[in-house]
Symmetry: C2
Subunit: 341 residues, 2 copies
DNA sequence: CTGAAAGCGCTAACAA
DNA sequence: TTGTTAGCGCTTTCAG
């Protein structure tokens, strides 16, 4: 029984290391603090003992003094759409690259956004990223009051005072419309997501604008009840069953576009792109597979993620700056669901 | 300038609330501690002031005393496979349900698992879930030494002393083989993932076993370099190009099975399931879409997640128990890529 | 460059 | 039930 405290509950602390190395605990602290001064002898001795004792500074205790937790809160919904896996991949990667950690909150199952935000704030995170459909002013207020930099990702909520990093969804919608017009389609429809989501709204209005500019009218518009495959399938079926069938549809995301393609081909016997064109949004990996080869509008996800983290880290080191808005351009990815000339 | 400290850096603390409410700080503490005793008057008064001042206990300071952070570390790789989005969805949801928080670590980009584990441990998390291909004994040692309950999810590493919750991959492989045999296929092949991954190994060996029991030999076996669509496509192409073409393939996951289906149909002109059968593993949502209608082996993901969290929470409250292993059964999901009788 | 001492915000005995 | 007191493990002035 030579081991320290019993029960495995307690860890080795800086005091243990200091005692064992015959130095003060401040010395230990300095060795583990990046910008601090310590002689190389000191450093070597402390590091050796730490290694032997398997010492590791306690982040909680540290943050109590420094007021930095190195924690970035991520509030996310949409755990059904594969784009969000890529987004999460990029975010966690970027966050880790900078020596930060991700505290992930799932608000997709009707969990209250406010409540989650409150919980997350108990950890006094250094920054927060929100990528959920609903974005409340109360949340951004909370963050501002507490001095926590906040970026709203891939969403452009009105009356919320926060940093915003998003794709230019309106321009993306226009891109879709112009491609379709150029390729000779005339009777177009839009398949949006839930009516309140800003991305769906923006993509739809850009689409309508460009149509109007060309003297065209959008034939119809349907809204899926959720941003998923089944909901998209249902919405498109409604669209194709109704009279005044369109020659082309622009869908608010790739999942719904894939559903549109399937419904058109399998249930209505339409040939794509000859009889019917489909454009999606996002460019998820599956959109490129053989059965789909979906023509789509791509958001510059990696750039968006990078900018978000940049904005966040900038504001963590220099607080009290006014919110920034970064809107990044989309691009057309041509594949085989729109005819080629 | 009536506000407290300047700069927005500092938050309102229990001291502020205590002063304002004319009580002691322990009183404040008690009001925010679930099992503590406080008169309803006290509680009301403190709560009112807290509300007004927007007070919230500091989780870091709290954890310093309690030795509980309510943080669960999740180490994940495979940010390319959509199953993991569902898994993450279930995990974060289950974790939040129990008043815990998720600290997510991405080790998919060649980031060192050890290094990540060390970082994550600085936060003295209450428990840890690892769902990454590689699982080192060093990591489980670290956890045991620090008394941190660990569950290895959907993987069954050898010589690692930790809790394991996984599907019965061997039995799953057998299920696939028996279905194929029953439906009259004879010349079968296996498309595995990277050679070292236990899931791929187990599924393959279960498949081989059941084949052998029926007096059959697996015709061939190819391994994809990674668990993705493109890698699967490449592997299957190799398989179908080689001589001795199989009548059926069992793929280690749905993504590769989808790739197999696409390669077979589009590049080799095979009719499925007449000329060629494909079975996948996982039952991801896309496997059910019209172009695929993939017959597959389903892992009971929700149950696996639930069990993982159960094991974790049990061991958090009652440490020093020996590791448990839970192996859950898979089931066959029949769709259209294996002929029906 | 190094050590002593004073907290960071909170909880947990212990008295009252 | 409530207040007082002593830390949790660490960083950070401030002397030396």
């Amino acid at each position: 029984m030579v081991t320290g405290k019993a029960g495995g509950r307690s860890r080795v602390t800086a005091v243990d290391v200091a005692r064992e190395a015959g130095v003060s605990i401040s010395a230990v602290s300095r060795v583990f603090t990046p910008g601090a001064s310590a002689s190389s002898k000191m450093r070597a001795k402390v590091l050796a003992v730490s290694e032997r004792l398997d010492y590791m500074p306690n982040a909680m205790a540290r943050s109590l003094m420094t007021n930095r937790t190195h924690l970035i809160g991520i509030i996310m919904a949409n755990f059904k759409n594969p784009v969000y896996l890529s987004i999460l991949d990029s975010f966690t990667h970027a966050i880790q690259q900078r020596g930060l950690r991700s505290l992930l909150f799932n608000v997709s199952r009707g969990d209250d956004l406010e409540a989650s935000a409150r919980q997350i704030m108990e950890y006094s995170i250094d920054g927060m990223i929100v990528s959920a459909a609903s974005m409340s002013p109360l949340l951004s207020d909370q963050c501002r009051r507490r001095g926590i930099p906040l970026v709203v990702f891939a969403r452009h909520p009105r009356n919320v005072k926060a940093n915003v990093v998003t794709a230019d969804n309106v321009a993306g919608g226009r891109l879709a419309a112009r491609l379709l017009i150029e390729r000779g389609y005339r009777r177009m429809a839009y398949v949006g997501g839930p009516e309140t989501v800003s991305t769906s709204l923006d993509r739809g209005s850009g689409f309508d604008q460009a149509l109007a500019e060309a003297g065209l009218d959008r034939v119809r518009r349907v809204n899926a009840t959720d941003y998923g495959y089944d909901e998209g399938y249902e919405a498109v079926s409604r669209l194709l069953n109704g009279g005044d069938r369109p020659e082309a549809v622009f869908c608010a995301n790739d999942i719904m576009a894939m559903a549109a393609l399937d419904a058109a081909r399998y249930d209505f016997g339409l040939r794509v792109p000859e009889d019917f064109a489909v454009i999606g949004f996002d460019d998820i990996p599956f959109a490129a597979t053989k059965p789909y080869r979906l023509t789509t509008i791509r958001q510059p996800m990696d750039a968006m993620v990078r900018q978000s983290i940049d904005v966040l880290t900038d504001q963590i080191s220099a607080p009290d700056v006014s919110p920034v808005t970064r809107i990044l351009p989309c691009s057309v990815i041509e594949r085989d669901t729109v005819r080629s000339s």
